[in-house]
């Protein structure tokens, strides 16, 4: 499976019809819903208000959400019931509703959370088959009392309010557009461009990035404007294509103040050839090379972003803000439009803030913390002294920051790990 295989994958969803005598029959293939998704959860609801149960299906594979319309044409009768309880449990969760119709007793309970990870509609649905009228409706409320309601008509939607005894009509769903034909979604995979906005910025100011001209240079020496560290190799076609795009739209990128620093991963004997390529694309300024120490450092930094199993690719680029902190990692070629959009976002951001929320559009409720200590230990193990010292300072600063937070404002509650 770790090599891209499956484990009990490509399994079709199953459907069984109740024969009414204790037996069921497998109708998966003719159900119209035997999707081959890795499905997880399904919920019931009469989405189109036509008196039968439609389904919403959540899964792991694309598309993650499906809406399935029930096409039942049996003309079965129905009753739909919403509940209002008295007291704090106004939703009347746990109430049991029993409907007698056509000489049969139908029993349903209102749950909050069942199946797997899911909650269905709180409107209870009673299929009544060919029954012409409802004979009785009773509710066993969560407080233990039982209440009979006036028998309603058939094929209606009602609200039963505890203590009222008389059903109220429930809003009728009008669905003018529901004559639409089936509208499947085409399963698709997104283009394999891996733009990875960082949840928390990745400090790299002390990163040693040897240049052809300036061999002791660090990222902090470039600060003051955003920097794109671009890893490439002379034998990597996609790297050259990407450089072509940078050249073509260099004016737009420069207007955003971006410095592109290319770092070749070629062997030393290929440096002359690499420099020629850079001249062709106008990218010689600030260009440099990846030495062993930088390789080891990048290995740790990229591992912090990608985890243990996702691999980095060439070309790979890290967008760094003007204070020397990584904000977006591009694992593969980056489109110039994407880069411009990210630069635009970056220009509106506060550089001091370690979070990087502007790239997400939402909020975190639980704390996300860079593994500064773990990285520091890795740097130490590999003898990367500058980075070790830098990360020790960062760790101390973060501790102080958190202490101040706890002394004053309410800190973010800690996350799981």
């Amino acid at each position: 499976m770790e090599q891209g295989g499956s484990w009990s994958g490509r399994e079709r969803n199953c459907a069984y019809l109740n024969l009414g005598d204790g037996r069921f029959v497998n109708v998966s293939a003719v159900s119209g819903a035997d999707y081959i998704d890795d499905s997880r959860a399904v919920v019931r609801i009469d989405w189109d208000g036509d008196g039968d149960l439609d389904l919403l299906l959540k899964g792991r594979t694309a598309p993650r959400l499906r809406v399935l319309r029930n096409e039942d044409s049996s003309g079965s009768h129905f009753l739909q019931v919403a509940l209002t309880g008295s007291g704090a449990n106004r939703d009347a969760i746990g109430a049991l509703v029993q409907v007698r119709a056509g000489g049969k007793l139908y029993t349903r309970r209102l749950y909050a959370g069942d199946g797997f990870l899911s909650q269905s509609s709180k409107v209870l649905h009673f299929g009544l088959g060919k029954a012409e009228q409802v004979e009785s409706v009773s509710v066993h409320w969560p407080d233990g009392t039982t209440e009979s309601f006036e028998a309603p008509g058939i094929n209606v939607r009602l609200r039963l309010v505890q203590g009222e005894g008389v059903p109220e009509p429930l809003a009728v769903i009008t669905t003018p557009a529901f004559g639409v034909a089936e509208s499947k979604v085409v399963s698709r995979r997104e283009e394999p461009v891996r733009r990875i906005p960082l949840v928390q910025k990745l400090p790299v100011a002390a990163l040693h990035i040897p240049g052809f001209e300036d061999q002791v240079r660090k990222v902090s020496d470039l600060s003051g404007s955003p920097v794109l560290i671009n890893l490439w190799a002379s034998w990597c076609q996609n790297c050259l294509i990407e450089m072509g795009h940078f050249k073509k739209r260099q004016a737009e990128l420069s207007a955003q103040g971006l410095q592109i620093i290319t770092m070749t991963t070629d062997e030393e004997e290929a440096y002359p050839a690499a420099k020629k390529i850079l001249e062709r694309y106008g990218l010689t300024e600030g260009a440099g090379y990846v030495d062993e120490s930088l390789q080891a450092t990048l290995d740790i930094l990229f591992g912090e972003i990608l985890g243990k199993t996702t691999l980095a690719a060439l070309p790979a680029s890290l967008l760094i803000d003007s204070s020397g902190q990584g904000v977006v990692f591009y694992n593969g070629p980056v489109e110039v439009d994407t880069l411009l959009a990210d630069l635009n976002t970056l220009s509106g951001m506060q550089t001091a803030n370690p979070t990087n929320l502007e790239f997400f559009g939402g909020v975190w409720l639980t704390a996300r913390k860079r593994a500064l200590g773990m990285m520091r230990r890795s740097f130490k193990r590999l003898g990367l002294e500058d980075m070790r010292a830098y990360y020790r300072e960062l760790g101390q600063a973060r501790r102080k920051y958190l202490e101040e937070l706890q002394g004053g404002k309410q800190p973010n509650p800690e996350g799981g790990q």
Binding site: V30, G32, V43, N70, A112, S187, W235, Q295, I305, M374
Partner: protein, 604 residues
């Protein structure tokens, strides 16, 4: 996109650097990650415990001879089905090269004299209980096949699905195997599906091909419908949402490779959904739980059946990996609040009455393991809703792999949060007796009054331990899973309850793992845990059997009617549910399936 080979030289030393293009089929799973936030325990478990026992890359190398034989049998069955159904030429000659010269015969393949059961909407079901078990001579095989295949009439677009569930070596060059087979097709009149089980004997013929010696029918059903029960409306309902393409129409792994590991992103797609009328307009809205880094979504229903985004306005677009959500009025103030499972925390988001959910209440826990399903009810009858949270693996020092695998009790404890009023909750798990047998790798729970005594009992689906049933005795709960007949040992993932036989009490559908490999390997292979006690084998066999139907006897004890009902083949089931497809009042079932589908075609 052009691909590149990896060049020699220093790139080799850089673990994370590979040329672009190699990644198109990149390694996918973050299994075994111990330092990633929100790494999914279930995956680690399966990849560890089951893989060690069941997954073998090349069965011949480690002596799993029957795994090789079942592969040959499966190939032969597919070939046989292709020829007999598709060709229309069902003479003996059409398949004579698949039949051994020593062919002993076949039972009737479609039992004779079946009376159809008519269901709502004109659906016809043929489901015999008895048929002649005797083998008929080889000369009648063509006729039997004509009976079987001819029942599909003019249906086209035939599909075949074959699961090998048993395989055993007999004497020299002979073996037997059982296959569950599904055939379906469509015609102008509607659709037809046949389900049958064949118990077959084979001999190895030329080039070690499996040749049929006999076929015995072990199960049969056939359904004719006027059309599909469901069609898809996904694009109509969701297609206009601005993030449809970049979020909703994508799979979980499409996103997984594009995120910082700090998102706590989870690979297995265990994020659910909840329905509820959040804005009080009489129409149910939708809250989608999402993987880490992708905002949860609050989607309001429009009158025309489409959805509109209300995430930002409501402040509910949380980026934390959210497994489960509930839409409920938790404080009795008349509006709908949200209850979320994020990491080990239950987080309540209270609605201010104007659809702002800015007030958060955290119910935290010292054991930092993630919550899966949530459920809420009022089991103590004090008028407000309490919360039950299922938890899975314990990553702590004392935790780890489920031990013993088939009835583990070393997972992370589930939590019962009792509502104390005024938006305050107390962990009352131990106090009320729910701490018993409470570490069984739980994935789902349901509150139901199984013994019809007027209060709500709790049934919990456990992946690696027996399922637990907590009977509500008023002040406290008593764990009666085994004695009630609900102590299911299968790997359970989901629960649904309803009254399937219209007798007024509530029955249970348990969604379990079904593994054809497990069914084959466990009972028949000496090598599978050779030396283990026979009861352990039975546990394992049950562990992979599939879904379970528990019919309530009315007093809270259960009869397992799974085999009579014929619903085992739920595949790798998750949150199966009772759903009345055809409005006849008898609950049908829909079972979502599948564990992890990778880009390659191979699977167990």
């Amino acid at each position: 996109m052009q691909l590149h080979e990896i060049r020699p030289g220093k790139l080799r030393a850089v673990r994370h650097l590979l040329p672009w293009g190699c990644m198109l089929a990149a390694p996918l799973i973050a299994f075994g990650q111990d330092d990633d936030q929100g790494g999914e325990g279930e995956g680690q478990q399966r990849s560890g415990a089951i893989a060690d026992e069941l997954q073998h890359v090349d069965p011949t190398l480690d002596g799993w001879q029957t795994e090789v034989l079942q592969g040959k049998a499966k190939d032969m069955v597919y070939e046989f089905l292709q020829r007999t159904y598709a060709s229309g030429q069902r003479t003996q000659e059409a398949f004579s090269d698949l039949i051994s010269e020593g062919f002993e015969g076949a039972t009737s393949l479609r039992p004779k004299g079946m009376q159809p059961i008519e269901l709502a909407g004109g659906t016809l079901v043929f489901r015999p209980e008895l048929w002649d078990p005797d083998l008929e001579p080889a000369s009648s095989l063509a006729g039997q096949i004509e009976d079987l295949c001819g029942a599909l009439g003019s249906a086209g677009g035939l599909r075949f699905a074959v699961k090998m569930v048993q395989c055993r070596e007999l004497e020299d060059e002979l073996f037997e195997a059982e296959a569950w087979i599904q055939v379906d097709g469509r015609s102008e009149e509607g659709a037809v599906q046949q389900n049958f089980a064949w118990h077959m004997r084979f001999e190895l013929g030329e080039e070690d091909r499996a040749m049929l010696r006999s076929i015995e029918l072990r199960d049969f059903s056939e359904v004719h419908t006027s059309g599909p029960y469901f069609t898809e409306l996904t694009e109509f309902v969701l297609g206009d949402l601005p993030f449809f393409e970049r979020e909703l129409s994508l799979g979980v792994d499409d996103y997984h490779y594009k995120v910082d590991r700090l998102t706590g992103n989870s690979f297995l797609g265990s994020q659910g959904l909840a329905l509820g009328d959040v804005n009080g307009d009489g129409l149910d809205d939708l809250y989608l739980s999402q993987q880490g880094g992708m905002p949860n979504r609050l989607l309001l229903r429009n009158a025309d059946g489409t959805l509109r985004d209300f995430t930002k306005e409501s402040g509910t677009g949380l980026l934390d990996n959210t497994r489960s959500s509930l839409i409920l009025d938790m404080d009795g103030d008349g509006d709908q609040d949200l209850v979320l499972a994020i990491g080990p925390n239950v987080i309540l988001l209270y609605n201010d009455g104007e659809l702002h959910f800015d007030e958060h209440v955290f119910l935290g826990n010292d054991v930092p393991t993630d919550i899966f399903s949530l459920s809420a009810a009022d089991p103590d009858g004090d008028g407000d809703l309490d919360i039950y949270a299922c938890r899975y693996i314990d990553n702590g020092i004392m935790g780890g792999n489920p031990t013993p695998y088939h009835d583990a009790n070393n997972g992370s404890p589930n939590l019962y949060w009792r509502n104390e009023g005024d938006r305050k909750f107390k962990d009352a798990t131990e106090e009320v007796g729910l701490g018993v047998n409470n570490a069984k790798f739980s994935l789902a729970s349901i509150w139901e009054d199984f013994d019809s005594d007027g209060d709500l009992d709790l049934y919990v689906a456990n992946d690696f331990g027996r399922n637990t049933l907590y009977r509500n005795d008023g002040e406290r709960f008593a764990e009666v899973g085994v004695s009630s007949g609900a102590g299911e040992t299968a790997a359970s993932m989901g629960l649904s309850c309803s009254d399937i036989d219209l007798d007024g009490d509530m029955d249970v559908l348990v969604s379990n793992m079904f593994s054809a490999a497990g069914r084959r390997v466990v009972p028949n292979q000496e090598k599978f845990m050779g030396g283990a006690h026979p009861t352990v084998h039975q546990f394992f066999e049950r562990h992979a059997r599939g879904n379970t139907l528990l019919v309530n006897r009315g007093d809270g004890s259960f009869e397992d009617t799974t085999e009579v009902a014929g619903i085992e083949l739920g595949r790798w089931a998750w949150g199966g549910r009772f759903v009345d497809f055809n409005g006849d009042g008898y609950e049908d079932m829909y079972v979502p399936n599948g564990f992890v589908t990778g880009p390659d075609e191979d699977d167990l």
